[in-house]
Structures are given as structure tokens and as C-alpha cells.
Point group: C2
Chain length 312, copies 2
């Protein structure tokens, strides 16, 4: 079912950034640090720890410096932070961030709404960020709305290729294609990753999906089938977007790991340890999260027969 022989996958946890930024209440700094330290020991390859944005824009992540400075640094785990501009990059570097995740949108309207600047200005910011980072860290660019924009609609693949070409010319070596508002479908995912991968074979690609319309795991499989091995996801499926109220958030880490493990792939992640983290996260946000495996248990779960009907 795949043209890829890649069996080793890399799971990149984003709940403490992409999820917490949407929370209505501030999660206490100590709780964030404790959760991140717990996630660090599950086998994930990267944690997007926080976002160095304006505390006015995202007050729930106003403790970015303290969190990044205080967490344990576990061998084999990269600690990333999202930065929207040069100022954010300076703050991230001051805390020893391993990966600077610069963000811009594939669509003009979303870039304006999200970053309050045009894409041309964002590209200038990313150029300056790349120069500033030098060899202190690595730069990843997360390209939001790569599979569609809630304002502008379809984003043509030619536009993605054009933007990625500009990013590559700035020396960017890592790229995340983000389905920011859950608009991607598996055919589109396969086509875009295949085209970007073929056009820029040197780029390390990450798939970042939201489960807004239930297609998150189907899209993850579609990306994997084209050879993608890096996946962003969020414990419990925490996250979301203000443009789809009530909908599911990011693809759920434990559901995705459960699926990939069941498919015979190697994630290097302990499902049991992840489920413990998801439970801890639910306690922090005071509600049940959309993750399914937390409710149903893994597919290896066995029951004693009791005679209840469950036809077909």
C-alpha cells in the first residue's frame, strides 16, 4: 500500500505549544514544566515547548523563557519553539532552544491575520532569523494553511512550490506543511508531499495535521505513503483553531502512535507512557480531550465474554 519503505517514524509533540496557546486559562508554569518533562521520557523525538510571541497576543504562553530554561533536556529529544519574527527568535536563542520553528502562512490573508504582516515581510523575517541563528540552532519553517486557507480557500500547489523555493534559497533545511484548519484530504496530502519531496529532495519534511473534519489520521497515512517520517501531533488531540469552534484539534499523538505501532512501524514511543501524559494533560485542562485510545484502550485490549450483543 505504499511506495515507501520507511518504517522508522519520528513523533513530534506540539500540545504544549499548539494546544496551550488556545487554552482559555493560563496553565501554571510548574505544571507545564512537569508535563514537558514527562513527555520527554515517552520516546518522542521532538517537543515544541512554547511560542516566543507577544504575551499580549498569546497570554497563555507568556512564560516561554521560564519554561524553556527550566525543563529537563533529555538525550535524543529536540526542544523546539515557534517564533513569528526576529524578536521571538532572539528570545528563543537566549534560552538554548534547539530548533527555531519560524512560521508563515501559504496564504496571504492567513499570514496577515496570524502574523500581522504580509508573506513578503515574513520571508524577510525568516531570512533574518536564519542569519541570526547561524550555527546556534537549526531552523524549521512551518508553512501554515499549506492545504487550504479558511479565508482564501484553495492554495495551489504551484504557490507552495514557489514559497518553498524561496525558503530553500534562504538556507532552510527543514519544512513543515501544516493543515492549520483541517482542510486537507488524503489525495491532496499525497500529491503535495510527493511534489514537494521530489522538487526539494534535500528538505526534511514534517506533516502537521489537524483533525477538524476527522481526516487527521487518514492524512497521516497518506503522507507516510509518500515517504514522510516526521509527524507533529498533540496529546489528547488538544488544540484547534478559532475558525472551527467545537471541532477537534490537532491530530492526537496517542491515537497516531497507536495506529502507526499497529501498522508495524517503529515510532520509538511508549503508548503507555503517552497515555499517562494524556491523562495528566486532561487533569491540567479540566476536561476530557478528543483522543480515542484514551477512552477505548489499545486494540490489543481483551475482554471477558459477558453475552452482550454487538452485532456487526
Amino acid at each position: 500500500m505504499t511506495d515507501s519503505t520507511q518504517k522508522r517514524l519520528f513523533i513530534q509533540e506540539v500540545s504544549v505549544r499548539d494546544g496551550f496557546q488556545m487554552e482559555p486559562e493560563f496553565i501554571p508554569t510548574d505544571d507545564k514544566i512537569r508535563l514537558i518533562n514527562q513527555i520527554s521520557r515517552t520516546g518522542v523525538s521532538k517537543i515544541e515547548v512554547t511560542s516566543f510571541t507577544s504575551p499580549k497576543a498569546i497570554p497563555t504562553l507568556a512564560d516561554a523563557e521560564e519554561v524553556m530554561k527550566s525543563i529537563d533536556r533529555v538525550d535524543g529529544v529536540e526542544y523546539a519553539a515557534l517564533v513569528p519574527n526576529v524578536r521571538g527568535c532572539e528570545r528563543a536563542l537566549s534560552c538554548g532552544t534547539d530548533e527555531i520553528n519560524a512560521v508563515m502562512s501559504a496564504s496571504e490573508s492567513h499570514n496577515q491575520a496570524n502574523l500581522r504582516m504580509g508573506r513578503t515581510d515574513s520571508l524577510q523575517q525568516i531570512r533574518a532569523i536564519s542569519e541570526l541563528v547561524g550555527t546556534q540552532a537549526v531552523v524549521n519553517v512551518s508553512l501554515s494553511t499549506a492545504f487550504g486557507c479558511p479565508f482564501d480557500g484553495d492554495v495551489p500547489a504551484t504557490e507552495i512550490i514557489r514559497l518553498v523555493d524561496q525558503l530553500a534559497s534562504l538556507g532552510v533545511k527543514r519544512l513543515t506543511l501544516c493543515d492549520t484548519t483541517g482542510m486537507a484530504n488524503p489525495v491532496q496530502v499525497a500529491a503535495l508531499f510527493r511534489q514537494v519531496g521530489a522538487t526539494f529532495p534535500g528538505l526534511v519534511l514534517t506533516a502537521h495535521f489537524h483533525n477538524t473534519r476527522g481526516m487527521g489520521l487518514a492524512n497521516a497515512v497518506a503522507a507516510w505513503q509518500t515517504g514522510v517520517v516526521h509527524f507533529d501531533s498533540s496529546l489528547g488531540g488538544l488544540g484547534g483553531c478559532p475558525y472551527a469552534p467545537g471541532a477537534s484539534g490537532n491530530v492526537c499523538t496517542e491515537d497516531m502512535v497507536h495506529m502507526f505501532n499497529a501498522m508495524g512501524l517503529t515510532t520509538g514511543v511508549s503508548l503507555e507512557a503517552l497515555l499517562d501524559c494524556a491523562r495528566a494533560l486532561q487533569t491540567l485542562v479540566h476536561r476530557d480531550l478528543p483522543g480515542q485510545v484514551l477512552k477505548a484502550g489499545p486494540s490489543t485490549r481483551r475482554y471477558t465474554r459477558k453475552g452482550a450483543t454487538c452485532q456487526a
Copy 2:
């Protein structure tokens, strides 16, 4: 991404059987009939209307005869009913049921728990059902726990092939492979459908998935990639199984149709009409259902920019 060129899919609605059988409260017969009549006009190709089981076992479907006799019969829609045994088949035929959906499990323990008989006895029932039906209707067999059993665990593909071979020798022409408790993963789905399809090329195959662990749509895509074009699903994702309390139910019809439509395939189903049905169903069961598109709207939904942040 596929070895199939099949673009015309057939959507088979099971909420009013697989969903309603699990409901704690009896849905009034008139409400059932009204909803089925509404579903009949969405473009689905088949509706599993009810189950002719013992009213003691499934009291919420005790009105099977009245429902099957009273619904509109819309051109182009098949009206099916699940039957566990010969007695159920007689009742179904007395109401002019188009398709007799005989059920048995791939695993011995689940067959015992669900049908209170062994698989050998179920095969005898299906033989008798096939003879009884003759040319009055068509017979489909739904093979439960085809991707794993909550009691017995893995069900080897060789066991599925052995059972399907016996069913084919009874003259069965239609077969549904059911992931009754949501244990299937995409690699397994692709492998089993490919093997069954190659071994029994004359069989019309249906994929029946549950979203218990979030893999429902990923499994649907995996089945489609092997050439499967018939899919069972349930409005709103209604349904479930007593062995996974709190978990999601059947694959959600409107989410699956939304995905397939977005993938450029032809379902023949109106998403808007389905969403109206899902809203009506939510009213009948007095709660929100797990379907995502009902909450988020389709991926073609557009928003006016308001400046809210939604980074990556």
C-alpha cells in the same frame, strides 16, 4: 496513491440499525420511519433499516416489521435488514426486504456472545437462509470481528479465507468485512481486502469500520485503495459496542462522504442533505454525536478575517 481506478463509491447507511440497537431509549417508530425516509433521499445506495432479532435481545428494534413495511421505497435505494438466523430471515422476507444481511463472526467467542451459537451452526443458518431467500431477495453476509476479536484477539487472514470459502460455496455473492470493535489498522485492512478480493473475485465486498480508536477514515481510504467501493457508515458516527464504552461508534457517514467527495471521488450523496439527517438524528437521541463535519462545517467553508491567531 492507489492501485484502484474506482471513482464511483456506494454509501450504505447503518445508523438506524447498528446505531439504534445500542440506544438506551426506544426511538418512536414514527420517528424512525421519518428519518429513514429522509435518508432515502440523500443519495445513499443502501439503508440497513433494522434488525430482525429477538425483541428481548434488542428491544429498541422490536418494531422491525412495522418500520420495514411503512418506509418509502425510493428508486435506486436498497433496503436491507440484519438477520441472525432463519427465523429473522422469515420475518424480514415477510416485509419485502431487498437484502437479507446475515451475520456471523469470524471468531468463535464473538459468535457465541453475539448469536448464542457456534460458527458451524451459524454457517448452517446461513445455508438455510440462502435457500429460503431464493430469488425473493439478495443475501449479504456480514462477517463480524474480521479484523480482530475483543475476546479472542487476532483473527488470522487464513481463518477469514477459510470462512469466506465456505460462505462462497453456499452461494453468497455479497460479503461485508466488519471491524466490529474498531481494532483494524490501515495496513491490515489493505492486506485483508486485497487477499479476499484476489481469492474471491466474484464477491461484492463492503467495508464496515468503527472509529473506536480513531482509525475509521484511515481504514476506509486503505480499503478504497485496494478497490473497495461499498462502505457502511452511520450518520453522526452513531453506534458503538458494549466492549468499548465511551468510545466512538461506527464511521460517521457525513465525515466519510465529505472526505471522499474532497478526494475527487463520486459518492452520489448530497453532503448538505446528510448533515440535515445527522441534525435530525441528534434531536432523536438527545445528544451531540461524534461526527466532526457537523461541528466544523465542510472544508469549503470560508471565514471572514478577524485577526484571531491560529498559528500553524
